[in-house]
C-alpha cells in the first residue's frame, strides 16, 4: 500500500527535553492510523513537526512522497495536509465564518473558497446557523466541528487530528467519530491522536503506540486491543 506520510527516525527537542526520539511512522493511503500514548508521550510534538511549526532536530518527514522535513507550513498545506490541532485553537474573537474564510486562503481563488465554505456550512448546519457569531461563544463540541471544518477548507488528502474528543460530552464524541468515519469513506487519510484508546482502536486500520517519545508498539488494532504494551504505555507516564 502507498504511504501518504512516511516518517523516518524523527527527533523533536525543546532545549534539553527530547520529546520525540527516533520514531518511524507510516500512514497508508485512505485509512485511519491511530497514534496512541500517555500524557507527555510525544504525540502532539510529532503532529506539530509534521505540520511544520515545530522544527525536527533529526530525521526525515516525507508527505505524498515528497521530502517536507524543513518545508514551511504553508507549503505543507498546499501539498494537501491539514490539521485539527490539540485544544481546537479556533480564533475566538473572529466569527465562525471568518474562521473558515481564513482557512480558504490556500484554496487559490475566492470563488472556490466561497463554494467550499457553503458546502461545509451545509455539512455542519450548526456552523451555518452561527456563522456571524464569535467562534469563542460556541460550545466545546461546536468549536471542535469548526476546527474540523476549518481543516477541510483546503480539501486535504491527509488530515491530522489531535485529540478531537477531548473534554466533549459522550454524544458529541459519537458525532465526532461519525465524522471521522465519513471522512475516511471519502478517501481522506487520517492520523488520529487519541487519549481514548478503546474508541480510537475501534475506527483505526492501523495503530502506533508511543511511550516516552519512542515507538513502543505498532500493528493492527485487533492485535493491540488488550495488549500489555498498550496498557503499560499508558501506565508508564
Amino acid at each position: 500500500m502507498q504511504a501518504v506520510l512516511d516518517i523516518n527516525a524523527l527527533d523533536v527537542r525543546y532545549g534539553p527535553v527530547r520529546a520525540v526520539r527516533r520514531i518511524d511512522l507510516v500512514v497508508p493511503k485512505a485509512g485511519i492510523t491511530a497514534l496512541l500514548g500517555a500524557n507527555g508521550a510525544g504525540k502532539t510534538s510529532t503532529v506539530m513537526a509534521i505540520a511544520g511549526v515545530v522544527p525536527s532536530a533529526a530525521g526525515r518527514i516525507s508527505i505524498f512522497g515528497q521530502d517536507m522535513t524543513r518545508a514551511a507550513p504553508d507549503a505543507i498545506v498546499r501539498a494537501g495536509l491539514a490539521i485539527s490541532p490539540e485544544g481546537r485553537r479556533i480564533f475566538a474573537s473572529l466569527t465562525v465564518e471568518e474562521n473558515l474564510i481564513l482557512a480558504g486562503s490556500a484554496a487559490g481563488n475566492a470563488e472556490t473558497a466561497a463554494e467550499r465554505r457553503a458546502a461545509l456550512m451545509q455539512r455542519f448546519p450548526i456552523l451555518g446557523e452561527r456563522r456571524r457569531q464569535l467562534a469563542g461563544l460556541l460550545s466545546g463540541g461546536e468549536q471542535q466541528m469548526l476546527a474540523v471544518a476549518r481543516a477541510l477548507m483546503s480539501e486535504p488528502q491527509l488530515l491530522l487530528m489531535d485529540e478531537p474528543s477531548l473534554g466533549l460530552a459522550p454524544q458529541m464524541v459519537d458525532r465526532i467519530f461519525g465524522i471521522i468515519e465519513e471522512l475516511k469513506a471519502e478517501g481522506i487519510s487520517i492520523l488520529l491522536v487519541e487519549q481514548n484508546a478503546t474508541l480510537a482502536l475501534e475506527v483505526a486500520d492501523h495503530a502506533v503506540v508511543l511511550a516516552n517519545g519512542s515507538v513502543a508498539a505498532s500493528g493492527a488494532p485487533s492485535d493491540l486491543m488488550g495488549d500489555d504494551i498498550l496498557k503499560s504505555a499508558y501506565l508508564a507516564a
Binding site: 504553508d74 498545506v77 490541532p85 473572529l94 486562503s105 490556500a106 460550545s139
Partner: protein, 295 residues
C-alpha cells in the same frame, strides 16, 4: 470658553499623535511580540524625509507624502534586516535588538545630518488660524485632528473588513495556528510593520507641521509617551492603545494649561502618577486585550 476649546483642540491633536504611535507599537507587538524600541526612529526618519525632500525642492505636500513613504520604507527595512531573522525569539532578545537598531539610527542621524534641530519652513499660510463663533482656532491643529481620525478610521476598516485585516486579527490571537492554515507568515508580519511605519510617518508629518523642525531625538520622546499609552490602554490591545494615547495627550495638555507655574516642573511626574494610579485600579489597562476562548 475660547481657552477651553483651544485646549480641547490641542489635547486631541497631541493625543492623536500618541494614539497613532501607540497603535503602531501595539499592532507589531500583538503579532510578533516585539516591543519595538526603534519605533521612534521611524518617526524621526519620516521627519528627515520631509526635511530632505523640501531641501531638494519638492513642494510641501509632496514632501509630506515622501516623509510618510520614508517611514514606511524604514519600517519594512527594519523587519527584513533585523527582526525577520529573529522570528520566534523571546521578548527580551527582541527588545534588546530593537534598542540596538534605535541607537544605530540615532547615531546615523546625528553624524549624517546634524545633532541639532534642522528647520523646515512650511508655507506661512499653514501657521494661520480661523474663527468659529468668535473663537480662534489654528489651521494645523485642526488638520492634524482630521488626519488622525481619517487614519484611525481607515485602519479600523482595514482590520475589520479586509482579508488581510482578518488575518492580522487572527495572527494576534494565535499566529502559529494561522500558519497551520496555510497563511504565509512573512506577508502578515510585513504588513503589520508597514502599517506601523505609515502611522509613524503620519505622526512625523503632524509633529513637524506643528513644530517646524527635525532633530535626531524627534521621535524618541513622543514614542516614550506612546509606550506609556499602550501600557495604560492594555498591552496588546489596539483599542486600548488609541484610548491610552488620547488620555495621555489630554493629561499633558491639561496639566500644561491649568497647572500653576510653581508646579510646572512636575508636569510629567503628575501625568505619570495619574497613569500609575489608573493601573493600580485596572492592572490590565483601560481596555485589556481580549484573550482566549471558552474552553
Amino acid at each position: 470658553m475660547e481657552l477651553l476649546l483651544q485646549q480641547i483642540v490641542n489635547a486631541l491633536s497631541l493625543g492623536g499623535i500618541y494614539a497613532m504611535l501607540a497603535l503602531g507599537l501595539a499592532i507589531v507587538f500583538s503579532i510578533v511580540r516585539l516591543i519595538n524600541f526603534a519605533h521612534g526612529e521611524l518617526m524621526t526618519f519620516g521627519g528627515y524625509g520631509i526635511f530632505l525632500s523640501m531641501t531638494f525642492g519638492f513642494p510641501p505636500f509632496a514632501a509630506l507624502v515622501i516623509g510618510i513613504g520614508a517611514a514606511l520604507f524604514m519600517a519594512l527595512a527594519m523587519e527584513r534586516v533585523t527582526f525577520r531573522a529573529m522570528r520566534g525569539a523571546d521578548v527580551v532578545s527582541l527588545l534588546i535588538a530593537s534598542f540596538a537598531v534605535s541607537e544605530i539610527l540615532k547615531v546615523l542621524f546625528q553624524n549624517g545630518i546634524s545633532a541639532r534641530p534642522v528647520p523646515i519652513s512650511f508655507p506661512s499660510s499653514w501657521s494661520g488660524s480661523y474663527q468659529i463663533a468668535g473663537m480662534t482656532i489654528g489651521v494645523v491643529p485642526t488638520a492634524s485632528i482630521l488626519v488622525t481620525f481619517a487614519s484611525l478610521g481607515t485602519l479600523t476598516f482595514v482590520l475589520r473588513r479586509t482579508a488581510m485585516g482578518m488575518a492580522m486579527r487572527a495572527a494576534a490571537e494565535d499566529f502559529e495556528m494561522l500558519r497551520m492554515l496555510g497563511v504565509k507568515a512573512n506577508r502578515v508580519v510585513a504588513v503589520s510593520f508597514a502599517i506601523s511605519g505609515i502611522l509613524a510617518g503620519i505622526a512625523a508629518v503632524i509633529w513637524t507641521a506643528q513644530r517646524g523642525s527635525v532633530d535626531p531625538l524627534m521621535g524618541f520622546f513622543p514614542v516614550l509617551k506612546a509606550f506609556i499609552s499602550t501600557v495604560l490602554g492594555g498591552l496588546g490591545s489596539l483599542g486600548g492603545a488609541v484610548l491610552g494615547g488620547f488620555v495621555v495627550g489630554a493629561l499633558e495638555v491639561l496639566t500644561q494649561a491649568f497647572l500653576p507655574d510653581r508646579l510646572a516642573p512636575y508636569r510629567d511626574a503628575i501625568v505619570l502618577s495619574a497613569v500609575i494610579a489608573a493601573l493600580l485600579i485596572r492592572p490590565d489597562g483601560l481596555l485589556p486585550a481580549k484573550t482566549g476562548a471558552r474552553s
